[in-house]
Symmetry: C2
């Protein structure tokens, strides 16, 4: 397969796959039917990242905020996350699932991915945020630093719950909203943020290339 050449690539892409419910409504379907239409785009995106040699990819599965939605929707996005991880567990990937494992809203089937598991040649690290909450993530700062007795340490990142996820270079959000909605606040500090108006189930590979073309022309300053 051929793809455009880029002079500079992100090492880690974060994906906010928004717009599933709006897509379903637009099709005259119940809102919860939108989520399973997000699986195929996720696989396409995985393939595109693999082709370009992107080393790490994080999907925003669902959040603790999201679980305040009607139960039928919650069940639908839980299932979509389980299916997505299973689909990738047959491919070349090193999978990690991060979220509040202790809550009944965390799908049992994904507990085995609390530690990163490598499949095939493990060509790409893929992280799924599942029942993730930014408060849950940052609360570990308090809890773990307390246990370690290192309250004065300067290294914030080593104490958050999502410490096994690296800094995100580029966040791509589908569905038009220009906000992070709690996505990895620490790893997103310096991220470039690209928003597509298209809804996630309408994913096209051109969206991805458009984001990559934009990204290659950004400078990296890390706040300096």
């Amino acid at each position: 397969m051929t793809h455009p050449k880029f002079k500079r690539l992100p090492k880690h892409i974060g994906v906010i796959p928004d717009g599933n419910r709006r897509w379903a409504v637009g099709q005259g379907l119940p809102k919860q039917d939108g989520y399973r239409r997000g699986l195929e785009p996720g696989m396409m995106l995985y393939e595109l990242c693999l082709e370009l040699g992107i080393p790490e990819l994080t999907f925003y599965g669902f959040t603790q905020d999201n679980t305040k939605r009607p139960a039928v929707q919650t069940r639908a996005f839980q299932k979509a996350c389980v299916d997505a991880v299973r689909m990738l567990a047959n491919r070349d990937a090193a999978l990690l699932v991060i979220g509040d494992y202790d809550s009944p809203l965390f799908p049992r089937e994904l507990l085995e991915f609390k530690e990163r598991k490598t499949f095939g040649r493990g060509l790409i690290k893929i992280n799924f945020l599942v029942n993730y909450g930014w408060k849950w993530d940052l609360n570990h700062l308090m809890r773990d630093s307390l246990m370690a007795g290192k309250g004065g340490s300067r290294n914030v990142i080593q104490y958050i719950a999502s410490r096994d996820i690296s800094r995100v270079d580029l966040i791509i959000r589908w569905g038009g909203r220009r906000r992070l909605s709690g996505f990895l606040p620490v790893q997103s500090i310096y991220s470039d943020f690209y928003v597509l108006d298209d809804l996630w189930p309408d994913f096209k590979k051109e969206h991805f290339y458009e984001a990559m073309q934009w990204y290659e022309n950004q400078d990296v300053t890390l706040g300096g």
Copy 2:
């Protein structure tokens, strides 16, 4: 004075006034000369917020990351911050300066604003981030929760260094970069993010109204 009517207003606006150095270079001036050209736009923005009745405004002054720049630039943005706070201290505003007070890079003249000081009728809360660092902010989570012995608490916000700054509804960034660059990671979790390509010294009130018009058409979900 007249201004457009908006059906929905943000309660708290964050401002990332980027592009001062690029503006100076474009004018054939030394980079550090750009910073003082950011004062007048700041006053204009304050006036516009006052007219609309916006209750809180946070300016990104300078960060600990920024102080890695050449000393002549660091001195220039330190001075611009001191001047900005002094200009507003003669107006109707309740001023607070947040940043690493213990560092020699924090301007001594601003220490009196560690606690919020009200001037005139105190019509608007204005926060300045001065020698601010996201790590510095979050490190208080570790330190203060340790001292309070409340490591298991769920209330992250009450332990960060910037706890006196409320959640930001709308962040407006000048200078074209689509990134937060460490701006209040906790308060920005749900913020809508509007980016203008114009450089901050080229501020026009139309930029502000454009951002407000965009904002009034966003929905507020707080991640739900």
